[in-house]
Symmetry: C2
Subunit: 340 residues, 2 copies
């Protein structure tokens, strides 16, 4: 049965020196034993480990960071941890770096550029060994600052052609265009888009619009939802159908909004896809399970995180990255289901 003593009474924690004394060796050797056990004689190692267990020694990572100039922190910035699709990306990062000795410091900037700026400052003070950002950073001051910082940074979810450092994403433009081509192929002519004003949603709308134009069809109607909830999807649908009763296809920027649109159609007894086709983005479980099931764009949410984590590990190990690896397009896939 393992002792998990984490220290004596509050504030009186054992230091590396205490371990060294008990093991009859020096602090240096204890430090080495903990980080590179193979470089310490087996008997010495055994005595040190016994002392560590006995005292419940846990290294003070603040001291360690200060001395080594490595914090062991991987900072992750997300627009909101409340959105499960983003947490998939975080989980991908966690999976990739699980074996490495890195703690994830997660900052939630609540979709606000201003909060993100403050957060970046707070995180930088912690000297993270690397940064993963969900979404691209568009604030030029922050971009410059991070660039000068010299720590590996991976932006995700967008394919910024000029990343701060590295980017792992997919084309939001292509996502919109793919949905549009699918709808056109299904005979839809009068379309609409429901999505926010941030760069990702706008890119989706741009692609969506372009593909309709390429087919010689009019530009889509467009509605901005109050937030990314089912209720807002319902409401946006209501406004849209009132303004443009003849629309026959709606692309929602995320599945959550699309589920709202679909439920509202059911409530109003509007036939889907007979009268109106509905598509979302994200391949969330609820869309998959709805009846009829929701056509959607599959986003590599988890894969982006994992790849970002791998790039960071490679960079920290000072391995060279092939130039092409700094911009990684993980692609998307259309999942044509019953609502179109």
């Amino acid at each position: 049965m393992e002792e998990l003593a984490i220290g004596k009474a509050g504030g009186d924690r054992p230091r590396i020196e205490d371990v060294a004394t008990l093991a009859g060796t020096s602090a240096m050797t204890v430090s080495r034993a903990l980080r590179q056990p193979d470089k310490v004689a087996p008997e010495t190692l055994a005595r040190i480990m016994a002392a560590v267990d006995r005292l419940g020694y846990v290294p003070n990572l603040a001291a360690s960071s200060l001395a080594s100039r490595r914090s062991g922190i991987l900072a992750v910035l997300v627009p909101t941890i409340g959105n499960s699709i983003f947490s998939e990306t975080v989980r991908g990062v966690a999976d990739a770096v699980a074996a490495a000795d890195l703690n994830l410091l997660i900052g939630d900037f609540g979709y606000s550029e201003d909060t993100r700026r403050k957060l970046v400052r707070a995180l930088v003070g912690r000297q993270p060994d690397a940064l993963v950002i969900v979404g691209a950073v568009h604030d030029e001051a922050v971009r410059m600052a991070l660039r000068r910082q010299g720590t590996p940074v991976v932006e995700t979810w967008e394919l910024n052609p000029d990343p701060i450092d590295m980017v792992v994403g997919f084309s939001n433009f292509e996502a919109g265009a793919t949905v549009a081509r699918h709808l056109v192929a299904r005979g839809r002519r009068r379309s609409a888009f429901v999505g926010g004003l941030e760069s990702r949603a706008r890119a989706r709308l741009a692609g969506f619009t372009a593909a309709f134009a390429a087919a010689g069809l009019p530009p889509p109607e467009s509605e901005v939802p109050a937030d990314l909830s089912i209720a807002s999807g319902r409401e946006a649908f209501g406004r849209l159908i009132e303004r443009a009763p003849d629309i026959d296809a709606i692309f929602f920027a995320t599945d959550v909004l699309a589920v709202g649109g679909l439920l509202e159609c059911q409530r109003r007894a509007i036939d889907v896809p007979g009268r109106i086709a509905i598509a979302g983005l994200g391949n969330l479980e609820i869309g998959r399970q709805m009846q009829p099931s929701l056509t959607t764009i599959e986003i590599p949410a988890h894969a982006m995180g994992r790849r970002a984590g791998e790039l960071i590990l490679a960079r920290l190990a000072k391995r060279e990255l092939p130039a092409g690896d700094r911009i990684v397009d993980l692609g998307i896939a259309l999942l044509a289901r019953e609502t179109t």
Copy 2:
């Protein structure tokens, strides 16, 4: 336009001494200016702030932690950040401590006690000023260790009568009992429960069973879902209805599972609530929006986080806590909707 220079080229960041030199004062005074600006003469303060801006100085928090023995870190342990109901609690914590100078270090232990044990160790090494745990800790070694640590710890989501330090929760037993009483009042006699094996789900089942017994009715059937997904809710429903075709009410341990049950009823054309009543827990948006809308138990997810954060701030400010405040029951509410 604010300069957001965060440092020179990689690794060559300005230190407090550089700021002091540029401002013509000492490191001590710079340190004081940054933390207690009102204790520094206005002109001195102005010169220091100018120097800070000019150099893009950001204090090294590792050095700060080491010297002050305060890390400015609030560690939060969650079973999984993928579950939006838990992230509500995290957000509550964030809201409560927003004004304080605390960074949230979020650890995801993936529902595994073993991972949680490792995580606790890793986090303790970072000397967090306080800990919030989503869920109670049942591992005795971890409990002892945290207790000895002397840092404020708040457990949430369960009402442990003997908390490590403090607890903010609700009664899972009462949640189950409340649903059962509601179902009995609606004339249901033959019930079933779908939920996992962790302590919270078990407490819900215990309360559910007790209330049926109190009404002189037989104990519920019970099914363990593969995970907490809609699909698993569907499958559990399928197994249940096959094993006990006469059940007339099912309580799912979370709304996500309940939505699965409800969708499966719709697919099989089983009338809800005519033939079977369905209830969930969590008051998630999808349940609210389903047609028919889902009866559920409202959980104070956000409030638990906020209260936990407040308790921690009070403790860190060394304010005395009334004894009763160490165990806070935030209560639950039945939201009787269309599925029962």
